[in-house]
C-alpha cells in the first residue's frame, strides 16, 4: 500500500461514517436500532466517531422481546451511561398485551417475528423517518440485494423488485408523508471485518461473546440456553458446558457454540477457521429458504 491508501477496515469505516452523517443530514427524525449484538455495537461506535466531539444527534431504539440474555441488557444500560446516549426501549410484551401481536405457541415458539409489529408501531408512534440497522449483505442472501438507503412504503414493507438504483455515493432519501427509510451503514462489512474492527478499535463487548459456563441443551443439532420460558422436549437434557455466542439474538433463537475463546484474538482465529456461517445457529433463518426474504418484506430488519 502506498502512503495515500488506507486498509480495508479504515475504508469500510469511512464509508459507514459517510452513510451515518448522510442520514443525520437528510432526515428530520432518524433513529438507530440497537440490539446489543456486535453489529449494532460497531454501528453505534461509528456514530460516536461520525459526530465527535458533538454528541450523536439521534436516539437509539431497542426492541426488547422480553427473552433477552440479562448480559445484553446490562451491557446496553452501561453503554448508555458511559456515552450519554439515549436509548428508547419498546417491549414486545406490550404489543402482545394490547392484542397487536399474537404469541406463538409450541416448542419452537419465538418472539422474533413479533418484533416487526413492535418496531413498526414504535416508528409510527415516535414519528421516525429513518431507522438505521446493523444488517450486513453477507449475512443472508435476501440481504445481498439490499440498498444502503432502503425505501419503505407506508406499511413499512420492502419491495425487492422496486428498489431505487444507488450509484456512487449519491443517496436519495426523498419520500412522501408516512413513508420511511431503513438505512444499513455497515452493508459492506463481513463477519470477519466486524471482528477485526472490534479488535483494531478495542471495543468492549457483552461477556456473552466470550467463553463462559452455561446450562444448555441440544435441539436439532444446535446448543440452546435454558431459560424459564424455554420448553424442553423429553429427550432434551440440560447440562453445563463451556460456550459462547457467535451472534446474539434473543434466547429462543440464539445458538451457542462450544468454545474456549476468551479473547478477541481467539475469536478471530475461530471465525477464520469456521466452516459454517454465523447464522447457521439462528433458528429464525431455518424456518425456510426464504425466511429472511419473507420477514423483510413485512418490515423486519
Amino acid at each position: 500500500m502506498d502512503k495515500y491508501q488506507i486498509n480495508h477496515l479504515k475504508e469500510l469505516e469511512a464509508e459507514s461514517i459517510f452513510v451515518i452523517r448522510e442520514v443525520a443530514a437528510q432526515f428530520e427524525n432518524p433513529v438507530m436500532l440497537f440490539s446489543g449484538g456486535k453489529d449494532s455495537i460497531v454501528m453505534f461506535h461509528l456514530a460516536l466517531k461520525a459526530f465527535y466531539p458533538a454528541r450523536v444527534p439521534f436516539p437509539l431504539l431497542h426492541i426488547d422481546t422480553g427473552h433477552n440474555f440479562q448480559e445484553t441488557l446490562d451491557y446496553r444500560d452501561q453503554l448508555m451511561e458511559k456515552t450519554g446516549a439515549k436509548c428508547i426501549v419498546r417491549l414486545v410484551q406490550d404489543s402482545i398485551d394490547k392484542g397487536r401481536a399474537q404469541e406463538e405457541t409450541g416448542i419452537n415458539a419465538s418472539r422474533n417475528k413479533l418484533q416487526t409489529v413492535t418496531l413498526l408501531d414504535a416508528l409510527e408512534e415516535l414519528k421516525f423517518d429513518a431507522a438505521m440497522g446493523g444488517g450486513r449483505r453477507d449475512e443472508e442472501k435476501a440481504r445481498a440485494k439490499e440498498r444502503f438507503f432502503s425505501h419503505r412504503d407506508e406499511f413499512g414493507q420492502w419491495d425487492p423488485k422496486n428498489q431505487r438504483p444507488e450509484l456512487w455515493s449519491l443517496f436519495n432519501g426523498r419520500k412522501n408523508m408516512g413513508e420511511h427509510f431503513r438505512v444499513f451503514p455497515i452493508s459492506n462489512w463481513t463477519e470477519m471485518d466486524v471482528w477485526q474492527y472490534i479488535y483494531m478499535e478495542n471495543i468492549e463487548l457483552p461477556s456473552l461473546y466470550y467463553t463462559h459456563e452455561r446450562e444448555v441443551f441440544e435441539r436439532d443439532g444446535v446448543l440452546m440456553a435454558t431459560a424459564p420460558f424455554m420448553q424442553l422436549r423429553e429427550n432434551e437434557k440440560p447440562q453445563k458446558m463451556q460456550v459462547r455466542c457467535r451472534t446474539i439474538g434473543d434466547i429462543t433463537c440464539t445458538g451457542l457454540t462450544l468454545s474456549a475463546a476468551n479473547s478477541l484474538e481467539d475469536i478471530i482465529q475461530e471465525v477464520a477457521a469456521s466452516r459454517i456461517t454465523e447464522r447457521g445457529g439462528r433458528a429464525d433463518d431455518k424456518r425456510s429458504d426464504a425466511a429472511m426474504e419473507d420477514r423483510k418484506k413485512e418490515g423486519y430488519f
Binding site: 452523517r21 465527535y52 440485494k145 423488485k161 438504483p165 484474538e265
Partner: protein, 425 residues
C-alpha cells in the same frame, strides 16, 4: 496477534463488477471464486446441494449461490444488483454482481459506478457478441479503470489458442473505439476451474496470470484522483458544549486529492479563503487527509459554510468548474420517459438543486455504438447526451477527471424515484 491474522488487518479493498448473462457462466464463475477462496460455508453448500437436487441437476450448481430471492430462483433469472464478499490474504473483494440482459442496463450502470475493475465474460463458443459491446461501452462510460475479459468455457472449444486469440483481436477492435485504459484477457473455464484460481494444465500456450492473481495484484492505488483536493461539506459539527463551546467542524468524505493542516483552502460558492486548522477523526488529530477518508476539518477563520458547499485547495491549478448550463451523458432508469423541458431534482455530491432538461443531442445505440439523432425520446435503459440548466451553479469536475465530483443523479420530484444517472462532460 499471531502471523496469519495480523496480515489480514492490512488488506486492500477492491470493488469489482461482473457483467455477462446466465449463459456465459457468470454465476458459476462467481461461485467458483467464492468456493475456491473458502468464502462458502458448509451450511450454504448444503443448502445449494439440496436446491440442485430439487431442480433436477446432476452437479452441484454453483450458480445457485448467487441467486438470492425466491422470485429469482423460481424464474432462474437475476433481478437486481447483488453484492458478494470474499477475501484472500492480500485483498478483500466486493463484487457487484449484475445481470447482463439489455433490460438491465440500469443495474450494470449501478454496479459499475463504484467499481475499480470490470470483469466481462465472453463465451468462447460465441465470441464477441452484441452484449459484449454493450458491457464494454458501459465500462468505458462509467470510467472503470481496469477491465478483465474472461474468455470462458475454453473446455468446450478444446482449449484452442486460436479461439482465444481471435476473441482478443475482436475485442481490441471494440476497445480502440472506447476510452478504456487498461484491458487484460484470461482464457478460463469457470466450471472446471482452469485459470480461475489455479493455473490450467490444459492451456500450456497461455503464460499470463490467473484471474485470481490479477484481482489480487492489479494496481489500484492510482485509480483515485490524487491531484485535485475536493471536500464536499456533508454536515456541520457544532457541539456547543461546556468542553467544546466554539468548535465548528466541517464533516465530510474527501472526494479526491490530499489536504494538510496549514493548507490554504477556498470555500465554494462563497469564494472565501482560510487555512486548515485541524483535521479530526474522532479523538485522533491527523496531519493530512486524503480520499476516501471521512474526517472533520476546522478552519482558522469563521466563515459561513453549510452542507452542499465544497472546500478546495486555493493553489489547485484545475479549479472546479462553476456553471448553470451543464452537459452530461445520462442513463435513464425509469418506466416513465424523460420529459423534454421537464424539471427534476439533481443531486451532486452533498448539494441538491433543481434542473430543467434543455436539449437532447443524441441517444447512443449501445449495441452498434452508433449515435441516434432522429428518435430522441429517452426511456428506460436509454443512454443519451443531454443539456440541462440548474437553478444554482454547480461546482464540478468532468467525470473523466473525477468520478466523485463529476457524477449526478436526477430525481422525479413527484414520485421521489431516482430516474437517471449522469456523467458530467
Amino acid at each position: 496477534m499471531s502471523g496469519k491474522n495480523s496480515g489480514y488487518l492490512d488488506m486492500e479493498l477492491l470493488r469489482f463488477t461482473t457483467a455477462g448473462s446466465v449463459d456465459d457462466g457468470k454465476s458459476t464463475l462467481i461461485g467458483r471464486l467464492l468456493y475456491d477462496s473458502k468464502a462458502i460455508f458448509e451450511d450454504q453448500m448444503e443448502a445449494i446441494e439440496r436446491a440442485s437436487v430439487r431442480a433436477g441437476g446432476e452437479q452441484v450448481n454453483l450458480a445457485l449461490l448467487t441467486d438470492g430471492l425466491r422470485a429469482e430462483r423460481e424464474q432462474g433469472i437475476t433481478i437486481d444488483v447483488a453484492y458478494r464478499y470474499f477475501a484472500t490474504p492480500k485483498r478483500k473483494f466486493i463484487i457487484a454482481d449484475t445481470p447482463g440482459h439489455i433490460q438491465y442496463t440500469r443495474n450494470m450502470v449501478t454496479g459499475a459506478s463504484t467499481a475499480n475493475v470490470a470483469l466481462i465474460l465472453i463465451d468462447a463458443r460465441q465470441g464477441v457478441l452484441e452484449q459484449t459491446r454493450r458491457h464494454a461501452y458501459i465500462a468505458s462510460l462509467l470510467q472503470i479503470p481496469h477491465l478483465i475479459i474472461c474468455v470462458n468455457k475454453m473446455d468446450l472449444v478444446a482449449y484452442q489458442q486460436e479461439v482465444f486469440e481471435g476473441i482478443v483481436k475482436d475485442f481490441e477492435a471494440i476497445a480502440s473505439k472506447l476510452s478504456i485504459k487498461d484491458v487484460r484477457f484470461v482464457p478460463i473455464s469457470a466450471l472446471e476451474g482452469d485459470n480461475v484460481v489455479t493455473r490450467s494444465e490444459n492451456m500450456d500456450w497461455y503464460d499470463g496470470p490467473t484471474l485470481m492473481y490479477l484481482l489480487e495484484n492489479i494496481h489500484i492505488g492510482s485509480d483515485i484522483n490524487r491531484d485535485d483536493f475536493r471536500f464536499p461539506v456533508q454536515y456541520v459539527v457544532r457541539p456547543q458544549s461546556k468542553d467544546w463551546p466554539d468548535y465548528r467542524g466541517y464533516a465530510g468524505r474527501v472526494a479526491s486529492g490530499v489536504v494538510a493542516v496549514g493548507d490554504t483552502v477556498t470555500v465554494l460558492p462563497s469564494g472565501f479563503s482560510s487555512k486548515v486548522k485541524t483535521i479530526d477523526l474522532y479523538r485522533e488529530s491527523l496531519d493530512k487527509a486524503f480520499a476516501p477518508q471521512s474526517v472533520t476539518i476546522t478552519l482558522e477563520d469563521d466563515i459561513d459554510i453549510s452542507r452542499g458547499d465544497m472546500i478546495v485547495k486555493s493553489t489547485n491549478g484545475r479549479a472546479a468548474r462553476n456553471d448553470q448550463n451543464i452537459e452530461m451523458m445520462i442513463c435513464w432508469f425509469n418506466d416513465k420517459k424523460m420529459v423534454p423541458g421537464g424539471k427534476y431534482a439533481l443531486k451532486h455530491t452533498s448539494a441538491e438543486v433543481r434542473c430543467m432538461i434543455k436539449d437532447v443531442q443524441y441517444k447512443m445505440d449501445i449495441n452498434t455504438l452508433e449515435k441516434e439523432e432522429k428518435d430522441l425520446s429517452v426511456g428506460m435503459n436509454d443512454i443519451a447526451r443531454i443539456s440541462v440548466r440548474t437553478t444554482k451553479p454547480l461546482f464540478f469536475d468532468a467525470y473523466n477527471v473525477n468520478r466523485m465530483t463529476g457524477s449526478v443523479i436526477l430525481i422525479d420530484e413527484a414520485t421521489n424515484e431516482t430516474v437517471a444517472a449522469g456523467m458530467l462532460l
